[in-house]
């Protein structure tokens, strides 16, 4: 009896802490939605409101007029999709080489790739990378936004790790049946890796969608900028400091990845943990 009582008190305490904590974490988003639906006079009323009064969509329209949000959304979509696609293609190919082949220089090339694991070139080496873009004439183009990020050590290891879990007998059987290595790759290996590839894709997409410093530096014209930069443009452009409009734009920018995350949360979590705990 005492044990069950203690268990109940324990549960209640945990429950209370978790509710408070969840409220703190979810609050910024919730209050941003509230204020984005508020008329200007209510935005500036003190004390600030917690729940929205009315449903004032004009803030959203204003946000789209203040900065070219539609164009920025398109740019971010192009950038994130191309980076994702590139990383998956290069990652599966290289992962296949490391998992299924023995070749001269394997250790060296593996180490060379491994060394770049924690090296975000787009921030650490932003100056030389920018100068290289200038040499290529890529500044202010989609090339600069996408090509430098189309391969990564993380994706290669993730794919390699997964390919190594697929039984060797399958490859032997395919070879006996006369399949070439590339036929085995496309017809058997890739279809067996669908969920892994899907998981890696969404993580790559969110990463690319959220990039900030590189697009800030490498794009000059508004029509080439991405949504993350758009948020900053909104803050600078909204001269009356109407936070209703700024938050409306912010909600639009965070919505795609948040929605993706909420729908595919389990897949996200699984892939994230897998990519982190490689050995």
């Amino acid at each position: 009896m005492r044990k069950t009582r203690r268990r109940m008190i324990n549960t209640i305490i945990v429950e209370i802490i978790l509710v408070i904590f969840t409220l703190i974490v979810a609050m910024p988003l919730f209050l941003a939605i509230t204020i984005s639906l508020q008329r200007p006079e209510l935005v500036f009323s003190y004390p600030p409101k917690i729940f929205p009064r009315g449903f004032y969509v004009k803030n959203y329209i204003d946000a789209f007029n203040l900065v070219p949000l539609l164009r920025l959304l398109l740019n971010s979509l192009i950038m994130a999709s191309m980076i994702t696609l590139g990383k998956i293609i290069t990652g599966t190919l290289a992962g296949y080489a490391f998992a299924n082949f023995r070749f001269k220089g394997k250790e060296v090339s593996f180490a060379l790739l491994f060394a770049t694991l924690f090296l975000p070139a787009e921030t650490v080496m932003i100056v030389p990378l920018f100068l290289i873009m200038k040499k290529f004439g890529w500044v202010n183009t989609y090339w600069a936004l996408t090509v430098p990020f189309m391969a990564s050590a993380t994706n290669t290891f993730l794919m390699r790790q997964h390919f190594m879990t697929i039984p060797k007998e399958l490859e032997d059987a395919a070879r006996i049946d006369g399949a070439t290595p590339m036929q085995y790759f496309f017809k058997i290996l890739l279809p067996l890796s669908k969920s892994m590839i899907a998981g890696a894709s969404i993580i790559n997409f969110v990463y690319a969608w959220n990039m900030y410093l590189w697009p800030l530096v490498v794009t000059m014209e508004d029509k080439m900028k991405t949504v993350q930069i758009g948020v900053k443009m909104l803050i600078d452009a909204e001269s009356a400091n109407n936070w209703g409009v700024i938050m409306a734009g912010t909600i639009v920018v965070l919505f795609p990845t948040l929605l993706m995350f909420l729908i595919l949360q389990n897949m996200f979590v699984k892939s994230l943990v897998r990519s982190g705990l490689k050995s």
Binding site: N10, P48, F103, N210, S279
Partner: protein, 288 residues
Amino acid sequence: MRKIIPYVLLVPTFLIIGMFIYWPAVYSLRLSTCRLSPFGNRMIFVGFRNFVKLFNNKEYLFSIRVTVLYVLLSVVITIFLSFFIALLLEMKVPGHTIYRMLIFTPYAISPAIAGTLWSFLLNPVVGHVNYLFSKFFGISVDWITSKPYAFYAIVFASVWKTMPFDVIFYLAGLQNIPDDLLEASTLDGANWWTRTWKIIFPLLSPITFYLVIMNIISFMFASFAIVDVMTKGGPGNYTTTMIYRLFLDAFAFQKTGLASAESVVLFVIMAIITFLYFKYAERKVHYQ
């Protein structure tokens, strides 16, 4: 035929890694030991002069201090908070799936937006958090533009943004710890604290190590967006981190040589971190 296939498969990856990671790395070494001629068309070798200049530059030294304090504070808060929350979530009280879902959401939100959201919450006119602070603690300031509050403001945003990542990993780790061990720590009220820190936390040390490294990287680099959106490094240079300093020197003041030297410094820090990671990861016992 089969012999050349692996090399062909590796070409795309190494083309990109080589061109956009290794080449810039070598290039930044070269740039950092050179000075651009007045017309910008010739490089003049100056040896270590850029580095000497850099480490005598008060603003740069200050940015190192800011970075160390900011990274240290944010990492410690994020790690302990995440571990604690993961522990509570793992107890699977009613409603834990909803709590978990909401607590995870900042993971999908970018640093730039995290900064925007917290700028709004801390705004002295419209911000709710600022309102609460003034109500309960009598602190009513313009967080973003005053010392030391601007520093706390970026720490708030950074911890909020990074914490879900850590919680996800701690939860995964806790799932591999035998239930009876967790159970005992849940129920035994008096010993809960010691058991948690003496048994469970050490069991998860490989994860903690990985998270500390990932958090250091994200606070050192991804934090750029948070600083840029919230404080722009201000007031003065009070919240100017190393990466923000690098951005200013490279793109606002066009000091290519100095900025390249800063790149090399960051590069060396990352190399040390990578080395430590692999050195430790080789020895570490996998919990899986």
